[in-house]
Symmetry: C2
Subunit: 146 residues, 2 copies
Amino acid sequence: MKTPEELTELFRANGRKVTAQRQCIFRVLQGDMTHPSAEAVHLAATREMETISLKTVYQTLHDLAELGEISSLDLGTGMIRFDPNVDDPHHHLVCRHCGKVRDLVAAFPDLQIPNGADLGFEVGSAEIVFRGLCPECQQSTLQLST
Amino acid sequence: MKTPEELTELFRANGRKVTAQRQCIFRVLQGDMTHPSAEAVHLAATREMETISLKTVYQTLHDLAELGEISSLDLGTGMIRFDPNVDDPHHHLVCRHCGKVRDLVAAFPDLQIPNGADLGFEVGSAEIVFRGLCPECQQSTLQLST
DNA sequence: TTGTTTTTCAACACTGATTGTAGATAAGCC
DNA sequence: GGCTTATCTACAATCAGTGTTGAAAAACAA
């Protein structure tokens, strides 16, 4: 993801207005590796701006996704998650217990996109989702089963 | 997926009661290749039983998924979809416009599950989602852009 | 078949993530 | 500074899915 300053420029260049709220969200996303939900971004943003609304967060995240600066992921955890890492092609590891997400940068960097032509599909992208248990949830599952 | 008769047996063998509603749902799912949502199953079921409730459909679908007779998929189309095909390992092709889902049985039947050990994850499964445009939506997108 | 127990059913209210609306507010430009 | 237009907040609404509860029906035994 670009820096807050670069994003500010980009927004202006695209005819979008630059507001304090948006810049706050840019800063929050910067370097976030946790694939936060809109709710989580909002929570982090309110620590800087108490009055920022959840709607504004959703809107700005969608703007960023539209500009290709973040990607929005529906990994089956009940809410959309946002990933600022759009530079390294990668796949995702999802904890089936707590929903935590981690990047898997090394695995299958060059997954071949199969030809869906026999079905008439025009295939554009491929994502792999690996599901399992994160370290913390392995612990708690262990405790439950004893 | 097993036949309605086999499923009836299976339910009884698992201490679940067999009701007309459940058998109706078994029949509806039989041979369905469209990866229907609960809503879609309900719609089809009401054609046989007008009074069947959506809640009952959800419950029975979850029962079937728990018994491993169907799988429930969250492919980012806004609702969970159910797939009666649990016998052939396969991946999915999703239309990013209308949400239609097709099986891709031949592609990557033996996807290696990577080692998430460096992240402490215990990885259990891998699914690939291919996104694109189905034949119908290629048409409508064409019309929009002219 | 009838009675008893236990599960399931249907109706309805509710949740939680996300979106629509509208008036107030602030950005961009002169 | 003042004008125009996009954006913001607050609030209501939507939509998929779940919890609750009394009624109904399945399983089982006598």
